[in-house]
Symmetry: C2
Subunit: 258 residues, 2 copies
Amino acid sequence: MSTAGNPSGTQAVDRAAKLLSEVVHSAVPVTFTELTAATGLAKSTTSRLLLALERNGLVRRDDHGRFLPGEMFVSFAWRGGADTSLVAVAQPFLDRLGKSTGETINLGVANGPQAETIAQVDCTYLIGGTNWVGLSVPLHASAIGKVLLAHGAAQLSAGPMARTTDKTITSEATLRADLAGVRARGYAVSDEELEPGLITIAAPVFRFDGTVVAALSVSAPTSRMKRETAMAVARRCVEEAAGLSSALGYRPRARKGA
Amino acid sequence: MSTAGNPSGTQAVDRAAKLLSEVVHSAVPVTFTELTAATGLAKSTTSRLLLALERNGLVRRDDHGRFLPGEMFVSFAWRGGADTSLVAVAQPFLDRLGKSTGETINLGVANGPQAETIAQVDCTYLIGGTNWVGLSVPLHASAIGKVLLAHGAAQLSAGPMARTTDKTITSEATLRADLAGVRARGYAVSDEELEPGLITIAAPVFRFDGTVVAALSVSAPTSRMKRETAMAVARRCVEEAAGLSSALGYRPRARKGA
DNA sequence: GCCAGGAGTTCCACTTTATGGAACTAGGTT
DNA sequence: AACCTAGTTCCATAAAGTGGAACTCCTGGC
């Protein structure tokens, strides 16, 4: 009647999915009336579809009759769905960042007293990063590690900080100052601190509750990462990390979602 | 054609939901063919419905074209859907336990060095527990706390253990022995260890990965909780806790789900 | 206690939309 | 190259979904 133009014939399912999406993406329980308004469907249609969704465990009602995501979502979440699918959610953001910078992109998380790379997009040049997925690097020397440290997502192990290049930060005071900078700027830089000739910039990925769960990074040889380039790259990196955070339910300042 | 007898007219949505359910509840990615077989739908129908689900972010395909839960599920999980909905999932189990014992039922989780009550069903007697939701109790003196401790879901704070009654366990060795008993028996008992005249029995609630996330408890005045009653109550409590665990995706011994 | 108004569900004639067999396309295997 | 197997697109058919109106159930006002 109004939306028109469905690629193929699946109106009922599409409408049901739209309702579901409203329910799931809302931060608070949604009322029947809000749903009819949001989707523009007739009351009768909305009612029937919601009943079907409820019957199938896709939505449930709270004690005021408002709609919440159903058993299927909850069960998925409890089964650890989130833990196993960070890479999948992140992929589009990595790809985009890779396309716009041309450099090697990585996603890293804390793994004990190290930073582990869990996803990568290869650079478009002949000279660049090899495959780092599965590799763990020292927290204090890598950009990803510094982001995780700066936001309390990882803790340094007790021992002294290993030196891997002559630029590696090994003093606790220097590191502390650097981490403060990371928080202030919104991104971390490792300028030949891990390997000579390698510059990496990394930005934090936040979860719904504001905690940092991962870091997104761009790595390039010093030859391709001059000061001005670095600024632009850092901005893009922060942008994509913010996009990913948002996909994970992070809402920067507001407490109640739209 | 076969299933027949739908309460009301929503075939397409029901079928789509069934497909979705297969995908979400499977431990591993599901192939197109498995889905046609599992649901008994025509290839063309399956194809159209899956396309619709995919278009709406309810399923996605891995690189082999197999189906996985989509962005909507992942996003829900990352937003902490699990954290906020334990009570909702648990409610039916609490209610059932409350109905069959008539006593005060609680659900508790670890909160720092204490056990916090997050849900309750009031007892059917005039004399019984007041409202404990939101209250935190010492780990070593409460049944819920002992369950959490016994399964590594909570850690005692460093200081000495506070005595609240003359039966409170305050020696580390005694507590350690008691916790071993909790693991062996499958439930914990606090017999006037928190408050004189109060007996509580608690059983662990497991998550998909076998870790304990909460404890389910039955509390009664000593006057109503004699030895034989206690045994029956403990059995019911363990039963319901197991049911709840199962709802959270926990599969006791098997690794692969049904 | 009764009536008014809002919220949601059920009914039913209408017709749009989903259905499934068959034809078709895309990979992979012998 | 011929032959499977897996999956998508087509299309006539009819079954399923649609929405307006009637109906039921609450809730609050007076």
